[in-house]
Homo-oligomer: 368 residues x 4
């Protein structure tokens, strides 16, 4: 079986059988998510190496301290506060609820993760999400300004934070001029700018925003680990000093402060030693781009123009059915009677050999 | 250095130098917590072995499913629901907030972790904690009945759940007759019985309650992993079917549903394969008992009578100061002008050789 | 001055000067709201008459008890629970938050008061509002079914309640067949049906739903007093026994249980002695209909087809400017470059004489 | 019947029959509460007089504006913000929840109303109440300092506000030196000082604190109307500018902003025209003092030393049983086998004639 071979190997090599293209293959490979596999081998190495050292609890371990320093150095912002937590919904709910006063709300695209897929996590902390429709999952000053025109005093919440995802839930990403425009608009309008970086490495790799830009042009953001090669974990980075104070209390209060913070510290220290974090993002985008090129060459169009690790090609149902025999993925939405957009996601563990197999199968199914 | 030696070794052996007793030793060992080290080696082995398998997200991976089955089998209750989360505060806040209706409160000992050390996590979900003073951290039907006498309708919350910890925050543990009495009282009085098992293996090992008893005599409890050899993680077990429905929604809403649930699944599947979970508890209690015996032999008394992995000996300040040169621990409370109770905690990684060194030092400091 | 004359009179007569039409009048009359004046004289009489009687607190006074009985009798449902509170946002937030479990959400039209004009009151209790776009402020099984198709398990809230307003925020009202269809759909889909009756008397008078229908076909609703002649107050009616238990605890917890509940009791007992409550609704609709007829006769169209006490005629800006000299009202929305819809609201205190003055002015301004 | 005579009279006279002392009387008078009757006649007069004037909604009516000005003038603090709400629990929950950040808690005496009798209203907004035991319901810098010694960082909430009641729930009151000491301590320790003035007029009348002192030495307080002659209503006064901003949003969000704010405005404008508010407090204390003197003269002792309108005499059960035939009141607590403390409360409507009847009956029952 294909996967058990992968498991045995401790490298990124894949023993594919390209000569078998066209015949039935007996394996199943998942493009459903970038969190289908475990952790990058360098992370596991670090966990093993440090396993028996005795450490302080609750984020005061030396690894978490070091991870914070590495991240601040890469940001070029010595005053940013770094807090490590176990998941993205947790990062969002603690960051948003600790920032907003009770009557304040957060602005998000309709497609924003906090509004679509977090089971009312923000509302459960008492805050309203104000949603704005977009065609590509991205907010802009114009869209926000239109929304704010309708807001009445006292009888409606006071919007106080703008939530953006980079990359977005639709595979798109922000460019630096877009970030700068949002930043300027937010400053003028007394809005905090917060970036959900569940897929940050992929989002940055796709565009021209640098990691250091995030330390300058957002009030806070989080660095996604779960979807970028960690066992779990996200690093919340708070640049705005006004939002830093007492943040640890809020982490504890929401159940987000791990006793064994070392697990998060070791991972983020590994990811930010050298450029591992960003290399993983580049790897994911590169493998996704191989798929995109193949779809485009065969004449397929896409739901959104994505240069990140999530792509949404539109395919005939027959091709989709054919692909399902060996590949797992989500059908995203019907586009007409006989076509649908599917979502394919690459991960830190996606091998080029698998991409080649997929492309061969796609080619064969298209031309059948 | 002592610890680096420990780290290099991949076994539980310790290269101690007992002949050096009486001289200055150049090491520092921490008895502060049972979460100072990483994970039990068998857990790391399992993580490595399964790292590249592709799994469903959000707790639907095969390891989490297997962990649930192993736990249900050991409980002898095929209808118990098992949910894996990353920490104890999280387990408590999701379990309590998903159970109570808005006007309902939870009863806890004053020393209960939810009241003392969770930064208002329960209140942050909108619920009041009703506290009862105890001498040993344990609740009883008599104590609860006294409290309930003072509760007025409508103008006070309706108490609906009893929260107990086993072992308790003071190192004590419940016996089976005590659990049965609480169970009967709760049933009669329309109260749910919930056990915080952050240190469950230690608590069970110290007394006569079996793991299967927990499936019969509580509405819900959680199995602590963080303090029992896991990298992180707790397994919430819900026995009462009325509390099971829609629990996953609440996990997600509180940021407690991990995308890579496999990390928790692999760990709990390992801990509940054979008796590893309980062996770790027994190891912790055995090493703590060695310390207890040594203190008793030297004539010291204790703050509470503990058979678990947390002990609270009362020592002269001079002895405490002496111990601090090589050992880290909490001073718990002053007991008179020249004495204080300290807290010593053993862990899955505590070596008997370290215990011997400690006892030698204690002996020497006492007799100086 | 016009208004001081109104105040002196203790009847509904108005000493108008119709002969003055065409000349400048020196008065200002407000059609902004149905809560601009104090209370219906019969309510004040009752307050005076009972002022010195000593009563139990917190809703156990004899007037509140009597109000409950009168309402139940008119409903024909002896098992409905009646609770009196001071305002509509309060009624909504207590009813919704006491009904929903933490992970559950409420469905509302985009125009619904809970979503548009209650400053996140529902979210502040931890619950999400799911919104559906409508053209007339009314929900239907079809609209709800379309929405429910997009709801995913676990990762989205579980919708559990449908919130409708009657009359709606856009002046429209439900007919009996619409209510029955919603009721049937909700039952099939495990949804509670809750009606916001801030303007209930007006809504019922406009259509064919009887008051008794509300006791049969909703799980809960509230009877608006503030906008129907009371000094303040709304009567929450809970028909579904499952939602009745412990409701008083929730009232107290949300600050909605008045010590001097007698103030609410006396008012609702007065409104539901005979048909006063409904007569006030009919009066408001009748005076509004006089305005509607006048607008229609002059060829004006309307934003929504309203038979209730809120109407939305579309006027040229010149006419709007002219009306503003003697009348206060909201401009609701621009409809094109030179036209806007205004909102006119009649109240229990609106005199036909004022309506006549307004119509004369409208006529004059239109024909100028 | 006694009470119907009271009702007919529009004065404070009472047609008692003192000659009948010793015989059975056929009336029942309640000393249970200070909210058993309706409103002071001057308030009803004002409501009648202004009933038909048209006013802005949501607290922008001219009466609410005038009430704010009158209160600010009496306070001598032109910068205090005044907000009128319908009840005390509501005042407390909005004030506390809008002030505290999520991880912050409020300190109260164990006997404090927010902790004892508000059904978890503060916790329902997400905040923890830290309680301190007292013998008389009053907090002091010493008691608070002792408590703060036990507070740990991060793992416990950060106490940020001190809640005191004046008069207290036990009938005691603060003196100016006590208030100044609390004020100084709170300033030094970054704590807000908030006074619950449900029975403020009685509390001030009993001691040497002036109304203007409250504008200088508290961050916020509320002026109780419900228990001081109003139909309902409390006036929240916020002196600290940092706590004023956006308060109206929080009122609306918690369902505390009345559409017909005029009802509250007219009442507080009446209470603060001249000294009516304080005269009512003085009347209540004077009638209570007559009772206190009578008890003392007969040799009875008291649970607490009260100069306010709540007194707690300790009586033999036989006397209590005898009094119950014509008087209603709470038995507060058993003090020994044959004695209990009862609570007697006087109100704005308590007639001296009734006090005389009570004293006659007490005398007779004592000497029987």
């Amino acid at each position: 079986m294909f996967l058990s071979q992968l498991e045995k190997s401790n490298t990124l090599d894949i023993r594919s059988e390209p000569g078998n293209a066209g015949k039935d293959r007996c394996f199943m490979y998942s493009f459903k998510n970038d969190y289908s596999e475990g952790a990058h081998p360098l992370i596991l190495d670090a966990l093993l190496e440090n396993n028996r050292s005795q450490q302080q609890g609750y984020g005061d371990d030396e690894y978490s301290v070091r991870a914070g320093e590495l991240i601040r150095t890469k940001l070029g912002n010595p005053h940013s506060a770094v807090h490590l937590v176990s998941g993205g919904t947790q990062a969002n709910l603690v960051m948003i609820s600790s920032t907003l006063r009770p009557h304040e709300s957060v602005i998000s695209a309709v497609s924003g993760h906090i509004d679509r897929h977090e089971t009312g996590a923000i509302e459960a902390t008492g805050h309203r999400i104000e949603t704005i429709s977009t065609h590509d999952g991205k907010l802009s000053p114009e869209l926000i300004a239109d929304f704010l025109l309708q807001v009445e005093e006292v009888h409606m919440c006071r919007p106080r934070m703008v939530y953006i995802s980079n990359s977005t839930e639709l595979g798109t990403h922000y460019m630096k001029d877009e970030l700068l425009a949002l930043r300027a608009y937010c400053k003028e309008n007394d809005l905090y700018l917060y970036m959900d970086g569940a897929r940050l490495a992929s989002g940055l790799d796709a565009g021209d925003i640098t990691f250091a830009d995030l330390g300058r042009y957002t009030d806070a953001f989080y660095i996604g680990g779960t979807k970028n090669g960690a066992l779990l974990g996200e690093a919340i980075v708070i640049n705005n000093p006004a939002l830093q104070e007492y943040f640890s209390y809020n982490l504890k209060m929401r159940g987000a402060l791990l006793a064994k913070g070392r697990l998060l510290g070791i991972q983020f220290a590994t990811l930010f030693t050298g450029d591992l974090y960003f290399e993983i993002g580049a790897h994911m985008n590169r493998t996704a781009a191989m798929l995109t090129a193949a779809f485009a060459q065969l004449g397929y169009s896409f739901l959104t123009p994505s240069k990140t690790n999530q792509i949404f090609p539109i395919l005939p149902e027959k091709v989709i059915d054919g692909l399902r025999k060996n590949y797992d993925f989500y059908t995203w939405q019907k586009t007409d009677r006989h076509h649908a957009a599917i979502r394919l996601v690459t991960s830190w563990a996606t091998e080029e050999a698998v991409i080649q197999l997929f492309i061969e199968d796609l080619d064969r199914l298209t031309k059948r």
